[in-house]
């Protein structure tokens, strides 16, 4: 069982991963591709003034292929979004 921070969600998901489908990836399974570029033409606010920016990109190449939707069931628990924890 995993507890996940999903703001506002009250769903409990029960999933059989052996039936559900596939995690597809290109490249390496455990590799996030990152890139930083020093930009001299783009500015961002810092302490009230605009300063040059560095752009950072982080991405992977994936897809989730669902073969059997019946392998997952959600139970929606009626709890107000602003209630408790």
């Amino acid at each position: 069982m995993f507890s996940l921070p999903r703001p506002g969600s009250t769903d409990i998901w029960v999933i059989d991963f052996e039936r559900l489908g596939w995690w597809l990836y290109a490249g390496e399974f455990d590799n996030l591709i990152t890139r930083s570029d020093l930009r001299r033409d783009v500015f961002v606010p810092l302490s009230g003034t605009m300063v040059p920016a560095t752009s950072v990109i982080a991405e992977e190449y994936i897809a989730i292929e669902i073969d059997d939707p019946a392998a997952a069931v959600a139970i929606r628990v009626p709890i107000a979004a602003d209630a408790d924890v």
């Binding site: 069982m1 995993f2 507890s3 996940l4 921070p5 999903r6 969600s9 009250t10 769903d11 409990i12 998901w13 029960v14 999933i15 059989d16 991963f17 052996e18 039936r19 489908g21 596939w22 995690w23 597809l24 990836y25 290109a26 399974f29 455990d30 590799n31 996030l32 990152t34 930083s36 020093l38 783009v42 961002v44 810092l46 300063v51 040059p52 920016a53 560095t54 950072v56 990109i57 982080a58 991405e59 992977e60 190449y61 994936i62 897809a63 989730i64 669902i66 939707p69 019946a70 392998a71 997952a72 069931v73 959600a74 139970i75 929606r76 628990v77 009626p78 709890i79 408790d84 924890v85």
Partner: protein, 175 residues
């Protein structure tokens, strides 16, 4: 002035570490032997981009930059799980709670599992009412991050798993 390239590389490394430390969805598929390498035509880019003040990466010491990078990586890892739920919400059965929650979760597990499934996972919001209904409120507070599971329920009703669902399944039957 610190070297921009060196700091940018350190930032990217921390970002990847934060992502790697908090990934969950692909590892669950992997545990079920349901991970497949594919060509670029079958996948899509998944991640995010942002702009940082360059002077953050050219100053000798910027407090919290490592934390910012790790949190960014963690957000991408959490987004993987959200992507899974978004896929499922459109296609799988969503039922309203009626009656005993633990019993309903047991029924959901029975209805969703295959004949020889070994890789079941239950995702629950970290809410006290729900944890109490599943008799998990007596355990230490649940981890808020997906990379550190509090309890892993196995479909085979592991005796090592303390959650009420597994305890019920592992209970010896009489007669």
């Amino acid at each position: 002035m610190a070297d921009w390239r060196a700091n940018a590389t350190a930032f990217e490394t921390a970002l990847r570490d934060g992502w790697r430390d908090h990934r969950l969805a692909p590892h669950l598929f992997n545990a079920a032997d349901r991970v497949r390498k594919s060509g670029l035509d079958a996948v899509r880019p998944f991640g995010s981009a942002d702009l940082l003040p360059t002077e953050w990466l050219t100053s000798d010491v910027i407090a919290g930059l490592d934390h910012i990078a790790r949190e960014w990586g963690r957000e991408i890892a959490l987004a993987e799980v959200r992507e899974l739920f978004t896929s499922l919400e459109a296609r799988s059965r969503v039922i309203e709670q009626q009656g005993d929650l633990a019993e309903q979760v047991r029924e959901a597990r029975a209805s969703s599992e295959g004949r020889s499934s070994r890789m079941h996972a239950i995702f629950a919001p970290a809410r006290w009412r729900i944890l109490r209904a599943l008799e998990l409120d007596r355990e230490p507070a649940p981890a808020e991050i997906p990379g550190t599971p509090r309890v892993v329920c196995t479909a085979g009703a592991s005796r090592a798993c303390p959650c009420s669902l597994c305890r019920a399944q592992a209970r010896p039957t009489s007669g």
